[in-house]
């Protein structure tokens, strides 16, 4: 168990417990305080503090030019962030739901991702795009999507997904300090507490989890480094976001000695940790909420095959959302819960 990853030299720091929203808020607060070039904007993020309350109190504390509401135009939000980033600011923008990022797609793909390359380093635009994603909240098809693979496919963007309050804060600070554009996807189902897919069980708040101990002030969790949440010998499970809790539960329930890896950064992915684990276990299950076809699991599967072919003892399995839009009434038939993961683990063990 690797919770929490203690920040170096944090012995003297106060360690309050925070849920993921509070941790994200604390990251932005810390960076607004440290760096006058950091500013925050997005739909409803100013006075109101965001529909999920991630920016609560920041406008009051830092003034209206450092945390403000925008018109409802995601293309405009990303485009102005690019302009600001090119000027030398570090905009942190919120897209209210990942499902609403598509109007900004051209600005992300053709502009933010390529500015450095096409100008041969003459221009670049640091920016962080925070956006809640994923299902489990009865949000229907436009409040439940997991579009991470769309961004990992675009070279020039980094893609980060935290799974704990501690990581959320440390990764967000790293993202803000990164000089390349970072898509920071927040698993909204676990804003208030971890969720393992067992929807009929009561929600456990973050305060009961060790990773809710979040230092006040500055610390970072580096981009590009995975976290081994559970070490095991029989197989490797690759997961991120909400699905790490599904993986942990499946590992416990199956009695299989699985190693569970929380990728944390999808791009650049921590290939060394993945390879070391699969070489040790010889088996691999990849899980995500997103639809299956051309999902990020396809990339992971290809990487494992390319790097670990001679160590593999069974075909790699993917457990994913079905290839349909996310249907409102079928929340739990759609969401890949621990039973589906356990079944895949059994197949991989027997295979």
């Amino acid at each position: 168990m690797a919770y929490p990853q203690t920040a170096p030299g944090n012995g003297g720091l106060i360690m309050p417990t925070m849920n993921m929203i509070q941790a994200l808020n604390s990251a932005m607060d810390t960076m607004l305080e440290r760096d006058p070039n950091v500013l925050i904007f997005g739909e409803d993020v100013g006075y109101f503090g965001g529909v999920f309350r991630a920016t609560e109190g920041l406008q009051r504390k830092y003034g209206v030019t450092r945390c403000f509401d925008t018109p409802i135009g995601e293309g405009g939000i990303i485009a102005t962030a690019i302009g600001m980033g090119a000027y030398g600011l570090r905009p942190v923008v919120e897209i209210q739901f990942a499902d609403y990022i598509y109007p900004a797609f051209d600005q992300l793909v053709s502009e933010a991702a390529r500015l450095r390359y096409r100008s041969a380093g003459d221009f670049s635009a640091a920016m962080t795009v925070r956006t809640p994603y994923g299902g489990g909240i009865f949000g229907g098809q436009t409040h439940s999507q997991s579009p991470e693979a769309i961004f990992t496919h675009v070279t020039g963007l980094k893609t980060v997904i935290p799974s704990t309050p501690y990581d959320a804060k440390g990764l967000l600070i790293s993202a803000i300090e990164d000089d390349d554009p970072v898509i920071f996807l927040e698993p909204k189902r676990i804003y208030n507490g971890p969720f393992n897919g067992r929807h009929d069980q009561p929600v456990v708040p973050w305060s009961k989890h060790p990773a809710s101990e979040v230092p006040e002030g500055y610390y970072t969790v580096p981009l590009g480094r995975a976290n081994i949440l559970r070490s095991g010998e029989q197989m490797t499970i690759l997961a991120y976001g909400t699905m790490v809790y599904v993986a942990l539960t499946a590992a416990e329930a199956s009695g299989i000695d699985a190693e569970v890896i929380d990728l944390r950064t999808l791009l650049p992915v921590d290939i060394d940790t993945i390879v070391a684990s699969v070489e040790k276990t010889g088996r691999c299950v990849i899980i995500h909420e997103a639809t299956r076809t051309s999902g990020y699991g396809a990339e992971l599967s290809a990487l494992v095959q390319e790097h670990c072919f001679y160590h593999l003892e069974a075909p790699i399995e993917r457990v994913t959302g079905w290839d349909t839009p996310y249907p409102h009434a079928f929340e739990w038939e759609y969401f890949p819960g621990p039973e589906r993961v356990t079944a895949a683990m059994r197949r991989v063990l027997e295979g």
């Binding site: 018109p71 009865f138 229907g140 839009p325 409102h328 009434a329 038939e333």
Partner: protein
């Protein structure tokens, strides 16, 4: 350093926040009847004043006055009133259903009922509407069964959309109601395309679409206006300015320095601004724009000036960002009360009949709810799981079929 004053970034702020006393005395509300009614063949440039004025028909004595009075017969007025009453009763009931945990989500149109219902009355039954989530009044005015709307909200086995959509994202082709998308603004230019298709085919149907003032900031608003102007598409583009977009006041959408109707001018479209709480004004403006569209003269942009009386949705708490009594201070009144008073003034209605019409509406809603709830509410009963995999494509490709088999359904 040049000796210049440093620049500063402007971020618009609303006049009132929680704790302030809202005061709309500074709001310019033109007298009812004061705006001219040009011929439908007018050149858009020659009616720029209509984009800054406000078409109003009902005056402070509840009379219908001026050139925009559509002179509707009392029976039509009563039907309009009933549609608004039914819409409000429906909203109240479904809002409570959400609060009782019978569904996940709901959005009310309280205070904005005239926008949807009056427009429906002015349109033909086979004109296609591309509404936002706040024009449930269109379906109700067109007589779509409340029972079916409720089954959609409950995602139950009789849900016409098979449990796939968030509550209130209805779709009803037979009622001229296009499938609602959760992504704002996307349907504004689609309505233009539908209208272009009607023109291409030489038909006589027109299209109408509605977006909130907040949504005008999306690029799709620009696409709609440009394509509509270039191809003179027979479409009515409505902007419902209810002053708020979740917690953002209309200034964040650019409403501080100009009107939303005036956006039309640059595109070469007629832009007219209308009192959205005046059933007769909404009817008359829609009728004008519809006639213009049907006469092959193209699109009209209509701003409907109104107020979002309730929270944005069941997920919202407006007391966090605006004064609690702002709706009461809103000077354009309640569309239901205004039409009711007009009918009373005409001698065609009275308090007793109103009371009983309201009771009828509430009873009708309750009866439909009993019927719909009997089939199940969210989480109790749902459409067949098998259907989850259908309609992604017309014909199911092998990989989806295999996934359905994997699920064992």
């Amino acid at each position: 350093m040049k000796n210049r004053k440093p620049l500063s970034l402007r971020v618009p702020q609303p006049k009132y926040r929680p704790g302030d006393s809202p005061d709309f005395t500074g709001l310019v509300v033109p007298e009812a009847g004061s705006v001219r009614r040009p011929d439908i063949g007018v050149r858009p440039h020659d009616i720029a004043d209509l984009a800054y004025g406000m078409i109003r028909v009902l005056d402070s004595h509840h009379r219908a006055v001026g050139p925009w009075d559509p002179k509707l017969d009392p029976e039509t007025l009563r039907r309009g009133l009933q549609s608004m009453l039914l819409t409000r009763a429906y909203d109240d009931r479904m809002y409570r259903a959400q609060r009782q945990g019978r569904t996940s989500f709901y959005m009310k149109s309280t205070g904005e009922e005239a926008v949807a219902t009056a427009a429906s009355f002015a349109l033909e039954r086979d004109d296609m509407c591309f509404p936002s989530y706040r024009q449930q009044g269109i379906l109700i005015a067109r007589g779509y069964p409340l029972f079916k709307m409720m089954c959609q909200v409950y995602s139950n086995p009789a849900d016409p959309l098979k449990g796939r959509q968030l509550p209130i994202m209805y779709s009803a082709k037979d009622y001229g109601f296009f499938s609602i998308s959760g992504n704002l603004g996307t349907q504004f230019p689609q309505a233009v395309g539908w209208a272009m298709a009607s023109a291409y085919k030489g038909d006589d149907r027109i299209a109408a679409s509605w977006v909130g003032e907040g949504t005008t900031a999306e690029g799709d608003f620009h696409h709609a206006c440009t394509f509509a102007a270039v191809y003179r598409a027979p479409v009515i583009l409505n902007v419902v300015n209810n002053q708020w977009a979740i917690s953002s006041f209309s200034g964040i959408a650019g409403g501080d320095d100009s009107t939303f109707a005036s956006r039309a001018i640059g595109y070469g479209l007629p832009g007219i601004r209308v009192d959205g709480n005046d059933f007769l004004a909404v009817y008359a403006a829609t009728q004008w724009a519809a006639e213009r569209a049907r006469s092959n003269m193209g699109a009209t942009l209509i701003e409907l000036y109104t107020y979002r009386v309730e929270g944005h949705s069941t997920s919202d708490d407006p007391s966090r960002y605006r004064p609690q009594d702002e709706a009461k201070a809103w000077p354009l009144g309640d569309p239901i009360v205004r039409l009711k008073n007009h009918l009373i003034q005409l001698g065609e209605w009275d308090e007793e009949r109103h009371e009983s019409a309201n009771k009828d509406a509430v009873e009708q809603v309750r009866a439909s709810d009993r019927e719909a709830s009997a089939l199940g509410t969210l989480g109790q009963a749902k459409p067949s799981i098998k259907t989850m995999f259908e309609d992604v494509y017309k014909d199911m490709p092998w990989h989806i079929r295999r996934q359905r088999q994997e699920m064992g359904v």
